[in-house]
């Protein structure tokens, strides 16, 4: 049977506030355990939560960025369960009435296809602390350490519609949300530090069937590669079950990267009854237009809009435009190069080609580029004014990347300037023709593909610096005996 994959994602993104969502404790990463947990975070008796408006502002920015309705009234609820790193015995979250309603984003797939993915909702909640089972010092056996530094860190949980049909689409969507939260400055998106975590719901159904199959939820995936692999594993696992006539069990699974497999964490029967109810310690969150305007007035041009504009304004493909809008910094870089050199296509080719490769090789993002936008524009200018050929330019770029130097400096220092003096080219050609009488005779006898041999000889002798158009024209004339 042909199976269709259905995937929906729940993404927890940490909001980049100085202090926690319901207390004044700092949110900075990497502090000594339990040094950034105040009485509220510890859940001591008698303490009360006070909502951090900065977290609300960031949630509102996200809502606006995905074209969602911002709820004029949303409600914080308690999600009750016992766990040692959950100090109060409940997590404050939003349940029935989230702050951000339905919205959508566009993803661009590798084949250039554009797909709209629905976002069901996004809600504010607090993070739990961390249980240290393995690395707890002095744990001879069976001891678990609790670090509550992360407890109360503001999270925005972004829930998608089950709109994705392949791991590639799921990864593209996750990347899209990752791009967006950083673009609008609400999260650092740091996946190693847990600022961006993905839960994936995945099910299979016979192709053509409307009803969804039974899903498994894979929890806490912290890299795009793991997301891809976990989903691939899960498709295979569920396919095997279904092909064998079995049924998929609704359950929560964990992805183990070291074994590249998912395994069961708890089944539906074991699932907690969270006993959600509105948190009586917090008033309903009421947002007026003034608050929303204040939170969103400085939103930058959004990535989808910018991608459409790049495609239209600069005549780029959707795919190129999507690469150039991967981050706000990248888009700014591109436009800075275009502003200086005036050739968007050339700029796009260089950025998506040589620059992207160099960034990738050195594992840097655009902010850490060795070649600034002005420098890249300088390189392109030397191509445009025929100082160097495209081929030499790649060599110049590599040197610029390695040395952090301007194109002109590299060209000067290495003598890479193109030879455009036709007298010099003529003299070189005369010498080469004289040195190869046999080839000349064959050429004149009709073996025209020997033209390439002569071009090669000229380029070799000029170390690639002879202007190719001039070489072609002069060589053609000389070989013809003109």
């Amino acid at each position: 049977m042909q199976w269709e994959t259905v995937i929906g994602l729940e993404i927890h993104t940490q909001l980049a506030t100085e202090s926690k969502i319901f207390s004044g404790a700092a949110t900075a990463f990497g502090a000594e355990p339990n040094t950034q947990a105040c009485a509220v975070d510890l859940g001591l008796p008698g303490v009360l939560p006070v909502l951090n408006q900065g977290a609300v502002q960031r949630a509102v920015r996200f809502g606006r960025a995905i074209g969602a309705e911002i709820a004029p009234r949303s409600v914080f609820a308690r999600k009750n369960y016992f766990y040692p790193d959950l100090p109060k015995g409940y997590q404050i979250s939003q349940f029935e009435l989230p702050v951000v309603g339905r919205g959508q984003v566009e993803i661009v797939l590798d084949d250039g296809r554009v797909k709209v993915i629905g976002v069901t909702r996004a809600h504010l909640e607090e993070d739990a602390g961390k249980s240290l089972h393995e690395d707890f010092p002095g744990s001879g056996g069976g001891m678990t350490g609790i670090d509550l530094n992360r407890a109360g860190t503001p999270l925005l949980e972004i829930v998608s519609e089950p709109d994705m049909r392949s791991p590639e689409e799921a990864v593209a969507y996750a990347r899209k949300i990752h791009q967006l939260v950083r673009w609008i400055g609400i999260s650092d998106g740091n996946m190693q530090e847990g600022s961006f975590r993905v839960d994936a719901n995945i099910s299979l159904r016979p192709k053509g069937q409307q009803a969804f199959g039974t899903r498994a939820e894979i929890k806490n995936i912290n890299s795009f590669r793991f997301l891809q692999k976990a989903l691939e594993f899960e498709i295979e696992r569920q396919t095997d079950i279904l092909e064998d006539g079995g049924t998929v069990v609704q359950e929560t699974r964990l992805y183990d990267a070291s074994k590249d497999e998912t395994r069961s964490m708890r089944s539906k029967e074991e699932a907690n009854d969270y006993r959600y109810f509105p948190d009586p310690d917090l008033l309903p969150l009421e947002l007026d237009d003034a608050f929303i305007d204040d939170a969103t007035h400085d939103l930058p041009e959004l990535p989808d809009a910018m991608r459409h504009r790049f495609a239209a304004q600069y005549g780029l493909s959707d795919y190129d435009a999507s690469l150039l809008t991967a981050s706000l910094a990248m888009a700014h870089y591109f436009e800075a190069v275009v502003d200086r050199c005036g050739d968007a296509k050339l700029a796009a080719n260089w950025i998506n080609g040589a620059l992207a490769a160099a960034l990738n090789k050195d594992d840097r993002d655009i902010a850490g580029s060795q070649v600034s936008a002005a420098q890249l524009a300088g390189l392109i200018a030397r191509i445009q004014d025929d100082t160097i050929s495209g081929k030499i330019a790649k060599q110049v770029f590599d040197a610029m990347w390695a040395e952090g130097a301007d194109a002109d400096t590299v060209i000067e220092a290495r003598g890479l300037k193109q030879i455009t003096d036709s007298g010099a080219i003529e003299a070189m050609i005369d010498g080469i023709i004289a040195a190869n009488p046999g080839q000349l005779a064959q050429y004149r006898a009709g073996k025209e593909k020997l033209f390439g041999f002569f071009v090669g000889q000229v380029m070799k002798q000029s170390q690639g610096k002879a202007n190719p158009q001039q070489v072609n024209a002069i060589l053609k004339a000389k070989l013809a005996g003109e």
Binding site: L44, L48, R78, P87, K88, G89, Y90, F277, P280
Partner: protein
Amino acid sequence: MHHKTIAELAAGLRARTFSSRELTQHYLERIARLDPGLNSYITVAANAALAAADAADARLDAGDAGPLTGIPIAHKDIFCTNGIRTSCGSRMLDNFIAPYDATVVERLGAAGAVVLGKTNMDEFAMGSSNETSFYGPVRNPWDQTRVPGGSSGGSAAAVAGRLCAAATGTDTGGSIRQPAAFCGITGIKPTYGRCSRWGMIAFASSLDQAGAMARSAEDAAALLGAMAGFDSRDSTSVDRAVPDYGAELGGDIRGLKIGLPKEYFGEGLDAGVAASVQQAIDHYRRLGASVHDISLPNASLSVPVYYVVAPAECSSNLARFDGVRFGHRCAEPRDLEDLYKRSRAEGFGAEVQRRIMIGTYALSAGYYDAYYLKAQQIRHLISDDFRRAFEQVDVIMGPTAPTTAFALGAKTDDPVAMYLNDIYTIATNLAGLPGLSLPVEPVAGLPVGLQIIGNYFDEGRLLNVAHALQRETDWHLRTPDGFA
């Protein structure tokens, strides 16, 4: 000295007729002598009290004293006190010392009040007789075979026995007013949001409210004025100026419209209590008030609604007592589940466990709509009843409790009978309204409370109406035998 009002004590202190240290020592001596019989204090903080008294004396010497500077008071042991154990009447917190003061404690401290200690209470404020305390029951100073009421029974008994000048209390379903009635003192539960809940250990967050327990409305006004006010640490506290309650006392009550809800005078009300309350209302009529029959048609649903909402909230509020970070932890836990189960089974008493289970059930999947949601809907209807009533009248009066103080042990085996003690007080908590209880003519030597319910933020009016009766009568001045 212990018969003086707060105003008289403050005057004496300011005149340096006596010092705060002398006054504090006087109360400490009374506590040492008289409290072993009452058990109204869980913790007496003598050294801290004397140090605070000395600080107050310094302020008094410097002429920098407020109306409460140097006045010895007590805090219900539900308010967190930095450095002094806060047990909440529970074994669970027998070892708990908070690293912060509750806002109410902080404000009274800033006003210069001297804290003698922490008063006994029903465990986590769950009870109407003070018999659920881990530290043993409090006895009623008027008859030590009887309960003082609850949950603020320790504060009520301490005030009635003159073991402090005044005390704080909390009221979730009647926990200030009912013990005030049983012990013959004046207690006011203000509007929900009037006092900060920061540092006040939560029982049912949407109902809990701190208030004042004192011998008279005048004293209660002084205490409440210092406790109340907006606190940015409590999102449910209301940002609204606190009036000078003392200045509102003595206002004319002629023309005051008093509503008597017929539901508060029906079956279940002790005839003697009814007669005393009626007598007090007649007194108000003589003072120029008019009396109107009103109805609160959903009043009978208050108790069942309360026993869904309050346990639901408590089941969640008390989840933090898990033996992991503070409080009671069982010995040698085998694993996490064992740690949770035994720590909580050992740390919580029977009534607390009962309410956690009721609340957990009410919030469970499949029952939430039928219980919690339905209860919240009825809560709105109850509020609407009051809203309509206050379109016709200024205050509502009735009995605080259906009977006088009952015997120790009389209702401990019958939770429902115990719960019905709060039948007249619970509705005000559900609606968030202020309520006050003041002593009227006793029955068979036992105090009776008249309850006055006001509109939102009408605490000043309630205190003034109570004061008007106390200017004419001396029920509030009477002292139990043996406590003179």
